[in-house]
Symmetry: C2
């Protein structure tokens, strides 16, 4: 019974998110488990660092699974090649390796980085249309940055949680919430120890309201204090969101030659 961990990159456009849903094959987890069932002839559960919503992408999602008991373990590279052979062209796995027996992608995750990309150019984006939210508007970035500073820290983020019946703690630590522009691309980057359902998209949607002047940056503390979803802005659409990376200790990193961001930057 070997524990395998790996990175997954996916274009979430065609999927209902990470989490397997009954008989549908339109989830990332479902796709992977179906291939592993074929490989091992036994059901295997794949754990990711967290669920991503339908339409959300991942550059460096991390997952793990245990091979069935009593089986001669395959080499990690063999499994990686097998999975990639059967995955559709919008998902791939890489960096497959043996993990310590008790490693668990979700339970051991210490932090995550998400990017939300907003394109503010005047004409519609064509090549990256699936990976950005197109807002051909002037946004007040300075106000967005002031609001972002007020929204980061350790807070109860219940107002930014799409699940109204969340029973567990809604306190999270967001140690980075930045708004950066390069040309016509505005990127909201978030790093934190964990995120509530739709939290990054609701944070972004609220920041965009501030950028449009529909709301003052100074309102952020009262939105947090109210613990009321109705007070925050709408969730930004899923396609602008991407899970960039997940932190573990000890860290392990994306293998050289497998980081697709380097392609984007060089096009």
């Amino acid at each position: 019974m070997a524990n395998y961990r790996f990175f997954i990159r996916y274009d979430g456009t065609r999927y209902d998110g990470w989490q397997r849903q009954g008989n549908t094959d339109r989830t990332i987890q479902g796709k992977l488990e179906k291939i592993l069932l074929r490989l091992f002839d036994r059901a295997v559960e794949v754990h990711a660092s967290g669920r991503t919503d339908g339409g959300v992408h991942a550059l460096g999602q991390v997952a793990n699974f245990h091979s069935p008991e009593g089986m001669e373990p395959f080499k990690p590279q063999e499994i990686e090649n097998y999975i990639n052979t059967y995955l559709p062209e919008d998902i791939c796995v890489f960096g497959m390796e043996f993990a310590p027996p008790r490693f668990h992608s979700r339970l051991n995750a210490l932090g995550k980085t998400y990017c939300y990309r907003i394109y503010t150019g005047k004409t519609p984006p064509i090549f990256v249309r699936r990976y950005v939210w197109w807002l051909p508007e002037q946004l007040d970035e300075e106000a967005m940055r002031r609001a972002a500073a007020l929204l980061s820290g350790t807070h109860d983020y219940a107002s930014f949680c799409a699940n109204p019946r969340m029973k567990k703690s809604t306190v999270r630590r967001v140690d980075r919430l930045s708004v950066e522009r390069r040309d016509d691309l505005l990127t909201v980057q978030v790093h934190g120890d964990g995120f509530l359902h739709n939290m990054v998209r609701i944070l972004t949607g609220t920041l965009v309201q501030v950028g449009r002047g529909q709301r003052a940056a100074a309102q952020m503390p009262e939105i947090l204090l109210a613990r009321d979803r109705a007070l925050a802005g709408p969730a930004a659409p899923p396609q602008g969101l991407c899970l960039e990376s997940v932190d573990y200790n000890p860290p392990f990193s994306v293998p050289k030659g497998a980081d697709e961001r380097s392609i984007w930057r060089n096009l």
Copy 2:
């Protein structure tokens, strides 16, 4: 009767190329003319700087059309907005303006720049899968550059023409044919006064054979001299090719905030 000229950007994946084909709606020209027919209630022919093949992309294709005689001319911006409203999400027009009456996108084009993008990373590209040729191989770039130098200049490119019954001259001037690597992306950039059918893809396919060591760079002059399609390499697949820009005199340029390359570079 006004002459309108504009830029078009398209993801060619879903299309059978630029040129209208009978009743099919799967061409860029067909899509545009159908929308203009609706606008003017009269058939209008749209001329591009040149045809692109099925699956080939354009960042800065240039086209023009004349509005029907006897009609009050619409403002360029009105037409641009109208067209973009009805275009699918993988095509957009921008920079619409009045052109001199005799301006013709193809006949007045002085030169064109194409890029062919090869991704040599070990894992499949996901987000840019439609825009690159994935070759997870070690290519000998120095040999490719030597071959490229021998293939550029003013030559009879009949060996690099997919049309075996080309009646017009097959002499062209290629004043730039470069092979550049940035990380795992190898870009073949070509500038010339005009290109034969599939010429850029056959040049690229031949350079890749050299990069693989299947052919020596020194063979290039004899391939050119033979004027025989069978001697050059296979055409590289269409999805790596993109028409980047077209030159005119006097020049006119892509409006600010409409250049999608800046998005790619900033992702």
